[in-house]
Amino acid sequence: MMLKLEKRAQPSLLWTYLTPVVAVICTMIAGGALFAVLGKNPGEAIATIFWQPLFGEFAFYYRPQLLIKGAPLVLIAIGLSLGFRAGIWNIGAEGQYIIGALTGAGVGLAFYPAEAWYIFPLMVMAGALGGWAWAMIPAVLRTRFGTNEILVSLMLVYVAEQLLAKMALGLLRNPEGHGFPGSRNFQQYPSGHNAEIITGSGMHWGVVAALIAVIFSYILLNRHILGYHIRLTGQAPRAAKFAGVNPTRLILFCLGTSGALAGLAGMFEVSGPAGQINIDFNVGYGFTAIIVAFLGRLHPVGIMLAGLLMALTYIGGEIAQSNLGLPAAAIQMFQGMLLFFLLAIDVLTNFRIRRTKREAV
């Protein structure tokens, strides 16, 4: 007796929707086992991660955090998903996020201390442009010289991190900051502050931008020829060429869009929740967004839900760290398991398991 994978004639619709749910359940089981081995009560740990932020005693504080942490993840993941669907792999969203924050904050700080309505919109544009420009480096290198965009975009993350440190300690350092690293704080600069739209809700302009991105991406992929060409290129590159898709333009569009959205996310973060440019400004949203994109099946609505779920594990993970003393590495492993199980169970969308008698082949 052995198990055999058999390709389905059609991708299973049921499993397309069931996969994320089953993956989350498997993650809870395997994660629970991991926590048990670490000597924690698995039930309590899982409940702390998934229940406390939403319905616990301090939910009033954590619920807004869900939007604050979810928005950049969704915004970046939406951009990445366009490229991923076309087989264009931007792994360097973290770098584009940093550059977007730098250019956005840079424009804002250049106006300081002037107060005007147009400063914030200019910062938004600068942030998007910065991320776009950073993503254009791997895009142009790939279309001109055929370099691998995975490696180039990833390596540019480390370049961006160096640039961030340089800026935090140099050009953008707060002149009144008594020599501490870090820029002026946008929370004390009303014209440049990405403030909450409704106080206490966590809803800032980045959340609005993420929602708009979800809607636009949905329309693009399902109703527009460009989205069709993106999907076609990912599924059958030769057929796409036959259909008349220009691969160069598609690469520039996909990398450019994902870079711009990552740059926007960085800009909204630096001018809002983070408040300032600092050495440790980036916390890995750009990498986690890759998980979010796949967890959401590269589908705009799925990405929105996955972004919220990922934000939940972040917040819950922090609570578990402080309340239960779980190590940070265990939480990261827990998040990694989510992607692992998702990819493993994803096989069932296109294959079915069949029991067979051992047969000589």
Partner: protein, 505 residues
């Protein structure tokens, strides 16, 4: 009457949802060339896979020279004296002939001894082959010789050949047939799978015909007409395409001095290609696979750009235009590879209808897609071309090869092309569907479309084309009227006698 070599009785094999073979029985005699005839999906491959030990039958038994024969794997089959030449070769292009043959052996001898044996066998059976040549440099016919010699080195009693002539020129076919006749004179039996009726009539002593997994009859091919055999295969009388007299119009497409470098390492470069096609004309382009057919289609469809003036549509140079612009002007194409080139396997038929229909069928509005119109276009294709599928929402890969081919051809035909380029329009398609596709091409030409039909099926080209030429190593032969062309002439055109270059010299 000689002795029975392999006796098959009551072989049955079922896969989920389909019975591939149901109670098939027949005998193969020693020294006999036994044809196995049937449409695609009739169960020929499953049957030979059972004989070769690749698939285990559900029931039934086989007797080899009177003793029970149940090969559990190909190695056991080979040990019992059964060898097989597959339709698709399994050779490493970077290795030489002898190394490739050694790889398939249980205990390969020293390379020098092996090379000597390869030379001996190849000379004995009239299959010239240098053991030290790299396989990547060999033609399809020569590669097939490698596979045949690999089998002959095992001294087989039964040699199974799966559609061996599909990649050969007529001259190469003749060489192969001589080899096979020599083998049978030494007592080797050959199980010969094909759907080319004429060659079965010239070569085979006996034919077993399969339809829907069942043995539906047998005959002596030399005494049976091709038409009768075809009807046994299909199960009903089918109509040969009607060829109405057509009036030819102005020149629709004029290709002058089209030269292109090979698009990749394994591609063929096109060299100085000239031809014209008139409205209402079908130009047949024959040739052995891999001689530039794909590249020619790419150059005409706009996937590969050339000099502007190399391709002229009714006086307008289009060589620099991409596929979208050419489609807008009415130059449509249907590539050979259905899955992945002509259609996206995982997309629905509706989405695949959009693939080439977006412009001419007016399926978008400022880039926004009209899904309702697209779906009705897909439905029109399905209806007009009798595509068997539950509906347009099904993925392309769920269709059988023949049905998807009908969809792909239908998608272009329904867009009323000025010029239609097709490559292998009936490859791997059953006889009834092939007849329908050929009829559609003829009807299209009758309405004034210029059709360029690239194919490796010479019968097909002779049946539908007005003029014929062949590609060989990226060059085009002289173009001659198809009617009255002899097999010898065709063979010379395919084999690389470049009439044009000779006359220039």
């Amino acid at each position: 009457m000689s002795a029975v070599l392999l006796s098959i009785s009551g072989l049955t094999k079922a896969y989920p949802g389909v019975v591939a073979n149901s109670n098939v029985s027949f005998d193969i005699e020693e020294g006999q060339v036994h044809a196995l005839l049937g449409e695609n999906g009739a169960g020929k491959s499953t049957l030979v896979k059972m004989i070769y030990g690749l698939v285990k039958p559900d029931s039934g038994k086989m007797m080899l020279r009177g003793s029970v024969y149940t090969p559990s794997e190909p190695r056991a089959a080979r040990a019992a004296g059964v060898a097989m030449v597959f339709q698709h070769f399994s050779l490493f292009e970077a290795l030489n002939v002898a190394e490739n043959i050694a790889l398939g052996m249980e205990n390969p001898p020293r390379m020098r001894d092996l090379a000597t044996r390869i030379r001996e066998v190849s000379e004995t059976y009239g299959l010239p082959l240098d053991p030290y040549r790299t396989v990547g440099d060999l033609s399809a016919g020569e590669r097939q010789r490698v596979e045949i010699i690999r089998c002959l080195l095992q001294d087989p009693k039964l040699l199974i050949m799966d559609e061996p002539t599909s990649v050969l020129t007529p001259q190469e076919v003749e060489i192969l047939f001589q080899t096979l006749r020599k083998l049978t004179s030494e007592g080797v039996a050959i199980l010969y799978i094909s759907h080319k009726l004429e060659e079965i009539r010239t070569l085979c002593d006996h034919a077993t015909i399969l339809r829907l997994g069942k043995n539906v009859g047998s005959c002596v091919p030399a005494e049976t007409t091709a038409r009768d055999m075809a009807e046994l295969m299909v199960g009903s009388a089918f109509e040969a395409p009607a060829r109405a007299g057509r009036a030819l119009g102005d020149v629709a497409l004029d290709v002058t001095g089209l030269s292109l470098p090979a698009p990749n390492e394994f591609g063929t470069s096109l060299r100085n290609i000239h031809f014209t096609v008139q409205q209402g004309e079908i130009l047949g382009i024959g040739g052995v696979a891999g001689n530039g057919q794909d590249e020619l289609l790419g150059a005409l469809s706009g996937e590969i750009l050339s000099d502007a003036g190399a391709i002229v549509l009714k006086g307008q140079p289009i060589g620099r235009l991409g596929p979208v612009a050419r489609r807008a002007l009415g130059v449509l194409a249907a590539p050979e590879e259905r899955l992945g080139h002509a259609a996206a396997p995982d997309m629905s038929l509706t989405e695949n209808a959009l693939l080439t229909g977006a412009q001419r069928e007016n399926l978008m509005n400022r880039g926004f897609l009209k899904w309702a119109e697209t779906e009705s276009f897909a439905k029109r294709i399905i209806e007009a071309f009798d595509v068997r599928t539950p509906g347009p929402e099904n993925a392309a890969r769920s269709l059988s090869g023949g049905n998807l081919q009908k969809f792909v051809i239908g998608r272009e035909v329904l867009q009323r092309p000025e010029v239609l380029v097709v490559n292998q329009p009936t490859w791997g398609v059953d006889a009834a569907a092939a007849a329908a596709i050929r009829q559609a091409l003829l009807d299209l030409a009758a309405k004034g479309t210029a059709v360029i039909c690239i194919s490796q099926d010479l019968d097909e080209l002779m049946e539908i084309s007005d003029r014929f030429c062949a590609v060989n190593e990226g060059r085009l032969s002289d173009i001659k009227p198809a009617q009255g062309l002899s097999v010898d002439e065709i063979g010379l055109m395919m084999g690389g006698a470049h009439g044009m270059e000779v006359s220039h010299a």
